[in-house]
Amino acid sequence: MAKVKAMIFTIGLVMLSLIILSLAVLIFNTFQKAELTMSNIGALDRIYELDTSIQNVLKNLFKSSWIDLEVDNELNLVSFKERIPSNNTVFNLTLTNFKNFTESNFDYVNLDLDNVAKELPLIITPHNIGYKHLNFGERIIEITPASINFDKYEIFLDFNENIVSCPVEYSEETDFDTYIQASSPAMECSLRKIEPDIENKVQTEEGFVYLRADSDGSLVIIANDTIAWVETKIWLNPLTDINVGYPDGIININLPEIGVSKTSSVRIR
């Protein structure tokens, strides 16, 4: 009987010791994980800080593109105002300098700005409407919506030389409307709806601006042998938090040693 008691007692002690040792291992592991988590949070904070500051710089550098961009969330309106052909020299130089400076100081940061310098592509979200230039600095603006989730386009043109002829007014019903108004020192074209799927021309003394709004919602504006100040207003379907930014994948931060990779875009307005 005494031997059985002693055996039970010893087994009990062994079990107790094992439980205590297991707890010790558990505490040790938890502590180690907490340390690792803290260090990861610290690293992620640093990445976030750098990423947001780069986004802010790129947002500020957009000013040198000389595109006047307005977003009105109450009216569901986005407006772009620029001169075509645009002067992209300062913008491209600024972007190149910023990219070189950033990448030389942070070897884990990659800025994919080639397409921004080439086309200056802008995305209206959440509508997913693209506004870009076929070779920024040249004469073509292209708007490509993913679907017809807008009400109408309004294009306002302004010229230094006089307008010679205006596009023909169109009165038929369409999925979306495209309106144009043009002004020059001695003549103007009053606000009018233009026909889709054909070339609509505003002829000036020196050249012309060509506009084509296709049934799929895309719009092309080309200035030929003339300088035009173009304001494009896009009246959107009502959605919350309308904003305009560069496409995804502009800023790439990659730190393989801690397994962190971050890709972000830049919201401009």
């Binding site: 002693a6 002690l13 107790l16 205590i20 340390e35 803290m38 800080e49 802010n56 300098n97 950033t102």
Partner: protein, 142 residues
């Protein structure tokens, strides 16, 4: 008396009692060690949290100085005024600004950097017109 002695020894002498007592003491000692270890581990974890908090304080101050335009003139007195307004009294902080062909411009609340305590640090980028700069900060407890 003889009966009592016999009940203590249970016919095996007092070896079992001493063994049990020894084992209990050992378990107690190990438990105590574990408790003390756990206490210091928890303390150390809190320590990491306070370090993280310190880094975030420095980061927030630099971000505020950037967003409210205090960094823009690249002027040490202007930044110093802004820094003194924002920095909690228990901290010292140093800000260093470098550009491609600029700097370093240093603003600090203490010229002595301690060797005996934790110093939090971080970086952010900002621009003045077309030029870009890197602002780096170091923050530590007084």
């Amino acid at each position: 008396m003889e009966m009592e002695k016999r009940s203590w020894s249970l016919g095996l002498g007092n070896k079992a009692f001493i063994f049990s007592f020894d084992a209990m003491l050992a378990v107690l000692l190990v438990t105590l060690l574990l408790l003390v270890g756990n206490f210091y581990a928890t303390k150390s974890s809190e320590y990491s949290l306070s370090r993280l908090q310190m880094i975030r304080t420095g980061s927030d101050i630099l971000a505020l100085l950037d967003y409210d335009g205090t960094l823009q003139p690249l002027s040490a007195p202007t930044i110093e005024v802004g820094l003194n307004e924002l920095l909690p009294t228990s901290y010292h902080m140093r800000i260093e600004i470098r550009g491609k062909e600029f700097g370093p411009l240093v603003v600090e609340t203490s010229s002595e950097t301690p060797n005996d305590r934790f110093i939090g640090s971080g970086k952010r980028m900002f621009n003045v017109n077309a030029e870009s700069y890197i602002a780096r900060y170091w923050i530590w407890l007084k």
